[in-house]
Point group: C2
Chain length 245, copies 2
């Protein structure tokens, strides 16, 4: 995986902000059509990132920030012994890599787990865009806040809940986001996270993840493996998840 090319490939046909399916979950979600017209000239490029490739790595100093237009990516930190902590899973509309001082190195990595399409904003363009449209700072702020809230919630259940509940909460959280993006979660749907990815997200080993996954499958609650997830009893899964808090 780590030998794959690191840098995204520029696409030929760009999508306008107006037509971008990710927009209603993204930075510009509250903007009018007229606003968008002014904003989108500040986009720097649109790129693709194949599954397994990195958008950036911990310690890099990416001078752009990115909106994930389409695909799945994971954000994670790596420990000295090689273990990972997956911090979050990014979906269409998620904004990645922005920080107050774009000259500082970033403290986590982002890797595509499914082919991604990415919209880039260079630091310079962001600065200009914010200078011209100061109201956009509010929504950036609110994006950061949402991410911070999610991180606190994750910390809480990773720190306190038993593995089965962690898994349930993690899956429901992801299913909610997929539902928001128009996916019918009653179907057998694509799920490009491996058991190991999920294990690294909820703080258990992949072997133990597998045992819990088998248990949930045999209870006819959810089946999650081989790139797919099939929810058999959402109520039961959700009941497990909400029993945490």
């Amino acid at each position: 995986m780590s030998l794959l090319p690191k840098h995204p490939v520029e696409v030929e046909e760009t999508i306008s902000c107006q037509d971008c399916a990710s927009r209603r979950h993204a930075w510009f979600k509250q903007c009018t059509a007229n606003d968008l017209h002014h904003y989108q000239i500040f986009r720097t490029s649109q790129n693709t990132l194949a599954a397994g490739e990195y958008l950036f790595m911990e310690g890099d100093t990416p001078t752009s920030a990115y909106t994930l237009q389409d695909g799945w990516a994971i954000c994670f930190k790596t420990l000295s012994n090689g273990q990972r902590q997956v911090l979050s899973v990014a979906f269409s509309g998620d904004y990645l890599g922005y920080r107050t001082n774009m000259n500082e190195p970033i403290d986590y990595s982002v890797m595509a787990v499914k082919d991604c399409r990415i919209c880039s904003f260079s630091e310079k363009n962001i600065r200009q865009l914010l200078a011209k449209n100061p109201e956009l700072i509010q929504s950036l702020f609110s994006i950061q806040e949402t991410q911070a809230n999610a991180c606190r919630t994750r910390l809480t259940y990773v720190g306190q809940a038993p593995a089965k509940l962690k898994l349930a909460y993690f899956l429901v959280n992801i299913l909610d986001k997929l539902k928001d993006r128009g996916i019918d979660i009653q179907q057998n749907i694509e799920f490009p996270l491996t058991h190991e990815d999920v294990a690294d997200a909820i703080g258990i080993t992949s072997v133990h993840m597998c045992r819990i996954a088998v248990e949930l499958r045999r209870s006819n609650i959810v089946d999650c493996r081989h790139n797919h997830i099939r929810v058999m009893d959402f109520d039961a899964l959700n009941k497990l998840a909400t029993s945490v808090f």
Copy 2:
């Protein structure tokens, strides 16, 4: 604890921003004396909060944000089974309770663990202050970012490290902050967190916390109990802590 009065008590003698010892770690850290003069009229009140009292509780909708001028507080989330996850420990200069939409309920509690002095800014005043001084948004942003980074780091070691390393990292992190605030960490210093508080921060039980604490004490590394911490071998402690990442 939970029966103690919840609301802070207003103090009679306020401290000016200029003279505030917490300022160099706080929102206004980069401001000039002249700036401060203009900013401080937007402060709403200064209060004291006794150890054990809450600044606000999860689910509340505090319409002010707060700078901790002095004292120690813990931020935590509570689970349905009564367990807590301590999200962070707040020190002099830390900014608490701010969110984009101050009409939304807050998702964690803040409780003083040592008597605190607190500077309040009402939502209305913050709005006016930011409207008049838009440059202050940047530093708010950067405060949020710092808190989010800390949360990601905490999530990572809580999720991945064994108890002894979690404890070492947690303690070094706190000692660093104390050092920044001019405290000589070679001395026997005040440490108002109980074993249970620390355990809830690093995701272990207080019993196991005690066993690890005993182990570190018997190794002549650090002694932490009864409201005090004494570092006997900072290098050894730091070596444990840095071995995580």
